[in-house]
């Protein structure tokens, strides 16, 4: 039955051995169709990945517009474009949007699309939970941004330090939207983390040991573990904030003796791993791109993997470096200063390994490669300025100035976002079946990287000149005028670069259709990992049959071998090796209405908590309906083969994979997805008295 979708391990033919039980319920599952409705009910990891990407790019435009407003306001001294109220909301929402609604979901887009492909699986472990993650994220993001229409966004900064976030100091509902909105997107991240970890640990094909997985998969595995452990921390902080604001609890009420540093600790215990959650997917992406366009394997695979794991571990021991001036005591400062420095070691190992990969290679500077190399050098700047922050005495001068703004934009824009763009250009043909135009792509790259440096480079100087962060205006005579103007100009160059990307997408698609150009084929870049071993765009069932893996970079090794002089020689073409996606006999999990239904309940409950508890009732009803439907949904398309396959023999006819053949009840899903949700809803209501 259908509570938990059965693992969709791809069998070479002896699949579907698991027994199908009597179905629990009678709700039939919808069928696939070609219409747009299919996107609402899909459980296909590729479609979900694409939807993550589209939604994130939508939020990216919003966050980018906010960034431009900030830069316009600061272009000249005593800017009057935005009032202080609005400015505070704009910079807060810019940060929140870019971190939680752009970079994280873009990484999730790649992870969703590529993880199953890279490990040669048919889908993620729990396809419906995957759909749930996306819808929860989307509704959380829309909920968060709906605050603009309902009296203004959050105005406490993305870090939202208490007690400035209390009702007394922020009486509008902005911060309620922040707390509940991030709580919702947190549920999405947690569910998705459990799902993807299970997928990677459990669903690899024969022969793909952990140490044969591509680096991208590895980095995402680390990221999902970070999410798994970091999300509950911010959840508690957000619960406490919500209870304070809505039900007069005293967690951050300094008038009753609360300690405001509690928020800071909880926030940064989450917040520092969060930084690596943002950056590691990009590290993974460029670790795929650089070897491909250098025609060399990644240098020091195991060191790349272990340094990623090390970054993940160490990320938990450094959070208080965000609090060097908060008054946590000199000993704590010294300890965290020291621990922070050493996080530069594994990061440095990665940079050097990328350089070593490039060294002596045959470098082909496609747009994807340009972005990847851009990450290596730009992230280095961000990493080095990070070292200057780890020096606690220097940090007392730098923190909360534009030097920090420069630093984390070099990390998040220069590291994470450029890497994601590299991924766009690299995997676009795999996802959509056409190539992005390289000439326009290069314009995109150069405008973006020049604009980026013109925007954020000067901020180093501004910070050291003493310009504070989060100020909506500055006076003429402090000497901030020139560099602020330069930065504003730079931000519009970035905007132009991004606009060109969107143009490229539309233009390339049109040209491709108009010219009737051939499909780029399974492997347009002569790449190395398994996702290139199937047709482009990826067929719905991913792979026709299971791939037996014998080495790391399996796909490359099927294409190339070595001659007696140890020179690389081709032994097969990509088309010969790759599967053509022609197997239409694969049984896929049926789509489901209930992920979107369940997810829709969450923002409604949240509006209810803010405006009227009565509204919680329909919201909760929707959630309960979603759960019940989820559980009693027919495990599968009733017309699909439901017979018990116990025959292990005929491997030439890859058979149906029985979706949801395994029997688990109410409990599991409730535990996973509803946990927080129920805790949120019920707790808030019970505590209301």
């Amino acid at each position: 039955m259908a509570i938990i979708d059965r693992p969709l391990a791809i069998g070479a033919g002896d699949e579907a051995a698991a027994t199908a039980d009597r179905p629990l319920g009678d709700l039939t599952r919808p069928k696939n169709s070609e219409s747009w409705r299919d996107w609402l009910i899909t459980v296909d990891h590729k479609k979900i990945g694409i939807m993550y990407g589209v939604a994130a790019m939508f939020f990216f435009v919003i966050g980018g517009a906010e960034a431009l407003l900030i830069r316009l306001q600061l272009a000249t001294p005593n800017g009057t474009l935005l009032s202080p109220e609005v400015y505070n909301q704009v910079f807060t929402m810019h940060g929140v949007t870019m971190i939680f609604l752009v970079i994280m979901p873009l990484a999730a887009a790649f992870a969703n699309y590529l993880l199953p492909l890279q490990i040669g699986a048919r889908d993620v472990a729990f396809p419906r939970l995957n759909a749930l993650s996306f819808w929860v994220f989307l509704f959380g993001g829309l909920f968060l941004n709906s605050s603009w229409l309902l009296g203004g966004g959050a105005d406490g900064g993305w870090f939202n330090y208490s007690p400035n976030s209390s009702v007394t100091f922020s009486p509008s509902h902005g911060i309620d939207f922040y707390a509940l909105g991030l709580q919702i997107t947190g549920i999405a991240s947690l569910v998705s983390a459990i799902n993807l970890i299970t997928t990677v640990l459990n669903m690899r094909p024969k022969g793909m040991s952990l140490f044969r997985m591509p680096i991208f998969t590895w980095m995402n595995l680390v990221v999902q573990f970070l999410l798994l452990f970091a999300v509950p921390v911010i959840s508690v902080a957000l619960f406490e904030l919500t209870f304070d604001r809505l039900f007069d609890a005293n967690f951050f009420n300094t008038e009753k003796g609360a300690d405001p540093l509690l928020w800071q600790h909880l926030f940064w215990i989450f917040g520092h791993p969060e930084v690596y959650i943002l950056i590691l997917p990009s590290f993974g992406i460029i670790s795929e791109v650089i070897p491909t366009f250098s025609r060399k394997p990644i240098f020091g695979y195991s060191f790349m993997v272990f340094s990623g794991i090390a970054i993940g571990f160490m990320g938990w021991g450094v959070w208080a470096h965000h609090m060097f001036v908060s008054g946590i005591g000199p000993i704590s400062v010294a300890a965290f200063s020291f621990s922070t420095m050493f996080i530069a070691v594994p990061t440095g190992v990665k940079i050097l390994n990328w350089l070593a990969t490039i060294w002596g290679g045959r470098l082909r500077f496609t747009t994807a490669m340009l972005f990847a190399v851009g990450v290596v050098s730009m992230f280095t700047i961000g990493g080095l300025s990070g070292v200057t922050h780890s020096i606690a005495p220097a940090d007392t001068q730098q923190t909360d100035t534009y030097y920090i703004v420069a630093h984390f934009h070099y990390v998040i824009f220069g590291g994470a976002l450029l890497g994601i763009f590299s991924g766009f250009y690299f995997w676009w043909p795999k996802m959509f079946g056409y190539m992005l135009n390289e000439r326009i792509g290069k314009w995109n790259f150069w405008l973006q990287i020049v604009g980026f440096n013109v925007t954020f480079g000067p901020m180093h100087i501004l910070g050291l000149q003493g310009m504070s962060r989060r100020i909506d205006t500055y006076d003429e005579d402090f000497g901030f005028e020139f560099w602020n103007l330069v930065a504003t100009i730079g931000s519009f160059i970035i905007a132009a670069g991004i606009a060109i990307f969107f143009y490229n997408v539309a233009y390339s698609r049109k040209e491709w259709k108009k010219a009737g150009m051939p499909n780029p084929g399974p492997d347009p870049w002569d790449a190395r990992s398994l996702e290139w071993m199937t047709a482009s765009p990826t067929p719905e069932h991913n792979f026709d049959e299971e791939i037996i893996v014998e080495s790391q970079d399996e796909f490359w090794h099927r294409k190339y071998g070595y001659d007696e002089n140890n020179n690389v020689v081709r032994i097969a073409t990509a088309e010969e090796v790759a599967q053509d996606g022609s197997n239409h006999n694969v049984h896929l999990p049926s789509p489901s209405y209930f992920p979107i239904v369940l997810a829709l309940g969450l923002p409604i409950v949240s509006y209810g908590l803010i405006y009227s508890l009565w509204l919680c009732i329909p919201g909760a009803a929707l959630i309960i309906y979603g759960f019940v439907g989820w559980i009693f949904e027919h495990p599968d398309d009733p017309n699909a083969a439901h017979d018990h396959h116990d025959d292990h023999g005929d491997s030439d006819d890859p058979e149906a994979v029985e979706a949801g053949a395994e029997d688990v009840d109410v409990d599991e899903v409730v535990a996973e997805a509803e946990e927080e949700l129920v805790a949120a809803g019920a707790e808030m209501e019970s505590d209301n008295g």
Binding site: L266, D667, E683
Partner: protein, 211 residues
């Protein structure tokens, strides 16, 4: 690496045990449940630390002088014992289901749910008592942290009860024999986890601070 020889047929004996074939040998559901429990450690950790931070912060201008005054240790000990015993009934339920003894399995699971409800009832009673002594949710940081921590635990227990009842009644048609063993096991894992969280709360919050 490149010359690794193929062992094409290595997947031959994979279905020996007749359960889902995964790399770890653990079913997806069970792995996911453990991942969730692992993640939940950080949730309760944060709540417990918030409480510990505020455990001495009891000044609020009222007469309240600390939990020594309100905690009813014999009563809480009893409810702790009840929760502990519910873990026993849970594990007996699983054992029965593993033996394909559906009837005993159902009875033990209902017992577990009943003991869980007793525990929740005890908690409701305790909260009412405290409130009667003037300790509202908003009284001071101590009460906020205390009610939130124990409330979150209570919600976890309640979810567990729903899971138990859902399993018992949801399988009325399909039966709850040996093939449901994993379902019951997962409910059990969750239930025991909630129990060990209470083991910690009982010691750290109730027994120790009155030192």
């Amino acid at each position: 690496m490149a010359s690794a020889t193929a062992v094409v047929d290595e997947h031959a004996g994979h279905d020996d045990h007749g359960h889902a074939e995964t790399n770890t040998g653990i079913s997806n559901n069970k792995l996911a449940m453990w991942l969730f429990l692992s993640s939940d450690c950080l949730l309760f950790g944060a709540l417990i630390s918030s409480f510990l931070l505020y455990r001495t912060n009891i000044s609020d201008g009222t007469e309240f002088e600390g939990p020594g005054e309100v905690f009813d240790i014999p009563f809480t000990s009893l409810s702790s014992f009840i929760l502990l015993m519910s873990s026993l009934t849970m594990v007996l339920a699983l054992s029965a289901v593993n033996r394909d003894d559906e009837r005993s399995g159902r009875i033990w699971m209902l017992c577990t749910a009943f003991l869980g409800m007793l525990f929740i009832g005890g908690q409701v009673f305790e909260f009412t008592e405290f409130a009667g002594k003037g300790l509202g949710y908003t009284t001071n940081t101590w009460t906020s942290a205390f009610y939130t921590l124990t409330g979150f635990h209570g919600v976890h227990v309640s979810v567990g009860i729903l899971m138990l009842l859902g399993t018992v009644f949801g399988t009325r048609n399909s039966g709850m024999g040996k093939e449901k063993s994993e379902t019951v096991e997962l409910v059990g894992l969750y239930w025991h986890f909630v129990d060990i969280v209470w083991v910690i709360i009982f010691t750290v919050i109730y027994l120790i601070p009155i030192g």
